[in-house]
């Protein structure tokens, strides 16, 4: 059995940021990540982030990833790579598989930073090779430097769909269509306009009804949708393509939170079922959740939540006095509030308030 003060599950933006804060406060910390490289999905995000300077705005995701990694190594936090946390048990014991063997880690505090998984669509042909998530395409072009195909149809106009389309074109692919069932683009206009300026048609009020091909994708059938989002197949048409990407949202990865018996709540603005948490992201006794697991947002918010959980765990471990701790926490709240402001952020701010309110109700209203 490995003993540690803090175990962080997931080495993406939230987990690394949590590790950095905890490490700086001399918390003995282990981060486990199932991949061979930490950084989560930051390294495929080669675009500049929004926000302000304190949120590392204007810096590309992959560069932020590099910064986080070097900060982690400076703090002396241990990072176990190729390590899968496969279960969470009583007494804060977590089962991991590392180097082909099972081990147990007993931690005084645990932060779950498991992220989110990409949503799927199902239609005839949706399992053909060449149909993949937008994230898969992004990984192949920006990390592995291989094109998944030459002619791409992107389904979904949230920021992931728009940004991935732009990056596919930067990588040399042709995006032949972007398809959106809603009557308007889901993501930021600046991202959509980059795509429009490149001459890519955005089919609003349309959906994909079939992927065609024998051994792999050789085309897509699109159709307009009615006001109930049902496809009108009598108006369907063919688009020549070899790759179809799904950018239709993300779902928080809450399995470990469920195993820790955290109650969940369904919040559409945050991607689905999320664990209830208090103001310091605590979801159960000694267990915190940070980043997309606590509601799908952006990498910048995930990093702030990671910091919050890292500091909160350090306070509970007595590694920082209450006054300094609360100051740190308040600073993070302010930065988070900025990221959750305005027309786009407000929904998420309200959703987060709802989570905290529900959690408080469940505890009987005791602060």
């Amino acid at each position: 059995m490995i003993n540690t003060e803090l175990l962080i599950i997931g080495g993406g933006p939230a987990g690394l940021a949590a590790g950095i804060e905890a490490g700086k406060l001399n918390v003995k910390t282990i981060i486990v990540d199932e991949n061979s490289l930490p950084g989560g999905q930051l390294f495929k995000q080669i675009h500049k982030f929004f926000g302000s300077k304190e949120h590392k705005a204007g810096i590309r995701g992959n560069k932020i990833g590099e910064q986080l990694l070097s900060e982690v190594s400076e703090t002396g936090v241990e990072v176990y790579l190729n390590t899968r946390a496969w279960g969470i048990f009583d007494d804060n014991i977590v089962g991991i598989v590392k180097d082909g063997k099972t081990e147990k880690i007993k931690a005084k505090k645990i932060i779950l930073a498991t992220g989110a998984s990409e949503n799927a669509l199902a239609f005839p042909g949706s399992t053909l090779p060449g149909v993949m998530t937008a994230g898969a395409a992004q990984t192949f072009i920006n990390v592995h430097r291989v094109l998944p195909g030459k002619k791409i149809v992107m389904i979904g106009t949230g920021n992931v769909g728009l940004i991935t389309s732009y990056q596919l074109m930067q990588a040399g692919a042709e995006v032949v269509a972007i398809v959106e069932a809603a009557p308007s683009v889901g993501g930021y206009d600046v991202h959509a306009n980059k795509i429009r300026r490149a001459g890519v048609p955005i089919y609003l009020g349309h959906t994909i009804v079939e992927a065609q091909g024998n051994m792999e994708v050789s085309g897509a059938i699109l159709a307009p949708v009615d006001d109930k989002f049902k496809a009108d197949k009598s108006k369907s048409f063919f688009i020549d393509c070899d790759t179809i990407c799904f950018a239709v949202g993300l779902t928080p990865r809450i399995e470990l939170a469920q195993m820790a018996n955290s109650p969940t709540i369904y919040i559409s603005a945050l991607g689905g079922h999320v664990p209830l948490h208090d103001q310091k992201l605590k979801i159960a006794d000694s267990i915190f959740a940070a980043g997309d697991i606590a509601g799908v947002e952006e990498a910048s918010t995930a990093m702030e939540e990671g910091r919050l959980a890292g500091v909160a765990a350090a306070i509970e471990l007595g590694k920082i006095n209450q006054v300094d701790g609360i100051e740190k926490v308040n600073n993070i709240y302010q930065r988070l509030a900025k990221l959750r402001s305005g027309q786009f952020g407000m929904k998420r701010a309200l959703a987060k308030e709802e989570i905290i309110r529900k959690e408080l109700e469940l505890r009987g209203g005791v602060e």
Binding site: V97, T102, E210
Partner: protein
């Protein structure tokens, strides 16, 4: 009898003022004459089965057939839709009114006139339908997609489970195995929740997530047993 070859077959039924079949034929095998409303007549001895007239006909009213004298004959049918069938695909042959005659297997494709995009699909058919087989039924979209990629559970199976009374992702998982495969429901749980919502009106927000137990993710028994 000469050697076995394709011959044009003309299905032009009305006195339409039209004669590209006659003028396009390089061998003078089709006769219409000065009155272009005359219906075309094929001179079988001059037809070489080149297919030029097939591509030329504005009415898609000419096909070709090769009578082998064996059990299977060949027909060549102009097809102008996507998706094109693939070689080896089994297609349904129809008569000139669209009535289904039976199945055939796609043998090859040809473009008789390189300046015209019309493609001919060559299909092996049973000799009993050769005479009437002048069309290929258009590809119809199959409406039953796979929902659970791992266990290969189709949408119809999910809908059937809901008809039998299942109302949760968990119940459908137990009945159909959707979500019990190697990815543990990461991809299909949301899709199943959406189908429940569509079929029953119970929104995704009113549904519970399916239960989760260790191990999260794929671990071999060997890894689990080595401590």
């Amino acid at each position: 009898m000469g050697k076995i070859k394709y011959l044009a077959r003309i299905n032009c039924l009305q006195p339409i003022p039209c004669n590209p079949c006659e003028t396009s034929c390089p061998f003078g095998a089709i006769y219409i004459g000065d009155d272009i409303t005359n219906r075309p007549v094929l001179k079988s001895n001059k037809c070489r089965g080149c297919g030029i007239c097939v591509a030329a006909c504005p009415g898609i009213a000419i096909t070709m057939a090769m009578i082998t004298g064996e059990d299977n004959d060949y027909v060549a049918i102009p097809y102008e839709y996507y998706p094109m069938p693939n070689i080896g695909d089994v297609v349904t042959l129809v008569d000139s009114n669209g009535v289904e005659l039976g199945k055939g297997t796609v043998d090859k494709f040809s473009k008789p006139n390189k300046n015209d995009p019309t493609t001919l699909v060559h299909v092996v058919v049973d000799c009993s339908i050769t005479d009437r087989a002048v069309g290929i039924k258009k590809h119809v979209i199959n409406d039953d997609p796979i929902i659970c990629r791992c266990e290969e559970i189709f949408e119809s199976e999910i809908v059937e489970a809901i008809r039998k009374g299942d109302r949760t992702v968990e119940a459908i998982k137990r009945r159909t195995r959707s979500g019990m495969g190697i990815c543990q429901g990461k991809t299909c749980n949301r899709l199943v929740a959406n189908i429940i919502a569509r079929e029953t009106g119970i929104g995704a927000n009113e549904q519970m997530p399916s239960s989760k137990r260790p191990p999260v993710g794929v671990i071999s028994i060997k890894e689990l047993s080595q401590e």
